[in-house]
Symmetry: C2
Subunit: 288 residues, 2 copies
């Protein structure tokens, strides 16, 4: 299974601590060794780094560590390829422009028989079901709204689109326009909101800890979203099965999940991911 990492904050924050634990899963503490990608919003602009080297040993990942880029919205993806080529065009996150904003999307899952019509506004470049799903979401939004609608309308509309797409299979994803961060779980996705009073956090994947109170101000609020919790001593909130959550400025501003809420335990979630053939990560083509 691939893994997702996202961050949404109310002040530009560097993701190095979380990314350090996350990247080790790309070839060291776990086996997602088939490349990675990370997108940092900086104002309306995006720094987008892709690499087909394992994130644990990638020089691009080393750069991210040393450069300490500060961003209010970050989406990262590490990949375990199971079928198809590891072409750069198939590497998450994907990026497109909509309504004069960049939108970024990364997916962990596998959609079967998902063949939306060729878009008028958005067409995939690679051959993954992930990029197809992203283009389909943007296409439907653009066809419906010539300019960006208000937040409530936009969120409700995305929720309707997501409910349709998830009928095709595993659809864990992160999507951001540099302002809002959408997170949806079919199986596993967890988040934590860090805010004052800040404490210490200890990474699960490495012998590193950090005292957030030393590197934050009392007003900072940072939401970190990850497939699996990254720290051992904090309480991560799990997304329910088929829950869509939207974050802004480090805060949950919207969530919707079928009642009664169902939560997979991690073993169950990983088992489902492994059982769907593509091991829950499709960067490969989705042939009928």
């Amino acid at each position: 299974m691939c893994q997702l990492l996202g961050m949404n904050c109310n002040t530009p924050t560097d993701i190095v601590f979380s990314f350090e634990g996350f990247r080790l899963r790309g070839g060291l503490t776990d086996s997602h060794a088939d490349g990675f990608g990370i997108a940092f919003f900086e104002g309306k602009g995006v720094r987008l780094y892709h690499d087909d080297a394992p994130s644990a040993s990638s020089p691009v990942a080393d750069l991210i560590k040393t450069y300490q880029i500060k961003s209010e919205n970050v989406i990262a993806h590490i990949r375990k390829a199971t079928q198809g080529e590891t072409a750069l065009a198939n590497t998450h996150p994907f990026m497109r422009e909509l309504w004069g904003e960049y939108w970024v999307f990364a997916h962990n899952g596998n959609l079967r028989g998902f063949h939306p019509a060729v878009g008028q506004y958005y067409r995939p470049v690679g051959n993954t079901d992930s990029e197809k799903a992203f283009c389909h979401i943007l296409e439907q939004l653009r066809q419906t709204f010539d300019t960006k609608p208000d937040e409530q309308t936009l969120t409700a509309h995305i929720n309707v689109l997501v409910k349709d797409i998830r009928n095709y299979g595993l659809f864990n994803f992160l999507m951001s326009n540099g302002d809002m961060m959408f997170a949806h779980a079919t199986t596993l996705l967890h988040y934590i909101v860090r805010q004052a009073p800040f404490g210490e956090a200890v990474l699960l994947d490495d012998d590193i800890n950090i005292d957030f109170s030393a590197v934050t101000t009392p007003n900072d609020r940072v939401a970190v979203i990850a497939t699996l919790p990254l720290t051992t001593n904090e309480k991560w909130q799990q997304l329910a099965v088929n829950e869509l959550v939207c974050f802004r400025e480090g805060k949950v501003i919207y969530s919707d999940a079928p009642e009664p809420k169902q939560y997979l335990n991690i073993e169950e979630g990983l088992k489902i991911a492994r059982s769907v053939g593509a091991a829950g990560c499709s960067s490969s083509s989705n042939k009928p």
Copy 2:
């Protein structure tokens, strides 16, 4: 004035030699110290690196040197800001998807009073005239052709669009879809096609030389395009004023320039660039 660097080849080639000379103009041998960007096509995918640090000292540029990415199409841009903010959203090259392909564009120049209508398919994210011009080209292509036309039709159509846009000012640019590389000069742009028998080249901006015969095969063909020649011992071909050239597989496949051809000498070209207010590089907003 900003500077442009492009490469178009018939086999994946690393641009490190040319980039090493070019990047030194970003803060060391010349004063284009306000960030840089570089895009490498890899198949249909693109690695896109932007940085607001001067290219001469940027860790992102260091990464490019050490990583030796091989690509058939590369576009790089170093920037000297003269007005407006150096926001990441205004950093060249810009990228969009058209007909299921990524297109990449970088501009050295300044367009005055250029205000195309809001696009149906493409809208700028930043506030540069450069991104406006790029979006306008793609918008007109997409409005005219639902799918990619044949090469001749496409090239002729782009030529018509370029002839219109250059009425608004300095429009030196490079644009590629990972297959073709378009280069247009209002003032200064030079290129060289390196092919067998390969010889030695000596960088103008650094004490480096390279024997291409040791790092190539007899079938390799590499076109390098740059604002100013990068080497001292090779004969660079200058683009005429208002000449559009298209390269594929390291070869010129199309060119069009008004007759009689006019060639600016470098001093003249630099003087014109300096005299247009934005010193020939607009990464700033273009207010009426």
